[in-house]
Symmetry: C2
Subunit: 152 residues, 2 copies
DNA sequence: TCATTATTGACAGTATACTGATGATCAGTG
DNA sequence: CACTGATCATCAGTATACTGTCAATAATGA
């Protein structure tokens, strides 16, 4: 019988759990109540103001159904605003509030720290190699998920 | 600003999504309705009959709260049985049913196929290296998650 | 033995992720 | 312009994951 430790799926799941836990503890220690998912969405909206939800989902590889809830919570926290688009009445344009900008700037050091902490068992070279392999595997499997990356 | 593609956390999350999607489609194609999480739990119960839920959670690095629902669903599908332990009246001993054994055996080829498919962009050597790096990072971060691995 | 502490399983509540469906709207074609 | 098909956002439902809490029970130490 194949051991869990020889299953890529199991190992990926475990490191993901650790990554999320590290993110939460770093963010909380810095005084912010933001999930990894919410952070990524906020950062993407910051880079692409006025973006609609489907495009946002594609940029960060989220399911379009998931993004609804994430955007809801960001709006509820006053970090972003959602307004109907004038060009397409189906779409909602997402923009950051000043509060959102302040939060994004403030939390960034904690996010950077978390990224290092979650691979603290690896050397810098090993981390680079891990990221290279992850990128390569993701590129080949991108279309297998319901939430593929869609670069604009 | 740091790109998503340079963030280990983002890359890990994406590959995890792909891994789960691949597992589902392979399992479904083989005629089974079992999630990756349910499969791992079933396999662990098969290896360690009579195990209690906390020990099971430790073996596969699940949160003890999560395991309750997983075990519920496996029991509801008739794949496992839950009975009060005679040694410890708090604990529930988990055992497989014949149906569970049949399911586990039947689904195993699909699981193996899924493990290969989710890293189909990598060569065999690269897959080995990816698993090595994942194991090393996980070992260093094990205690950072609420659901660490607890080998017996 | 008795009081304190720890452990097991469960529950409520929140946040991803997904499947599948729906209403509103847009774009392209005849 | 009317029709068809695609797209945007949302919803209902299911399954992880987590935080924090609780009752029942076990284990430990004074």
């Amino acid at each position: 019988m194949r051991d869990n430790n020889d299953m890529p799926g199991h190992l990926i799941r475990r490191l993901q759990q650790i990554a999320v836990a590290v993110f939460h503890s770093e963010a909380e220690a810095a005084g912010y109540d933001l999930t990894p998912v919410q952070y990524a969405a906020l950062a993407a909206i910051s880079t692409s103001p006025g973006i609609d939800q489907v495009t946002l989902a594609g940029l960060i590889a989220y399911d379009r159904t998931t993004i609804t809830g994430v955007v809801d919570r960001l709006a509820q926290k006053g970090l972003i605003e959602r307004q109907a688009s004038s060009r397409d009445r189906r779409a909602r344009e997402l923009t950051m509030t000043p509060e959102g900008k302040k939060t994004l700037e403030g939390i960034t050091p904690a996010v950077t720290a978390a990224q290092q902490l979650m691979v603290r068992g690896l050397t810098d070279d090993e981390t680079e190699e891990l990221m290279r392999l992850l990128r390569k595997a993701i590129a080949a499997g991108n279309e297998l998920s319901r939430a593929p990356l869609r670069q604009v």
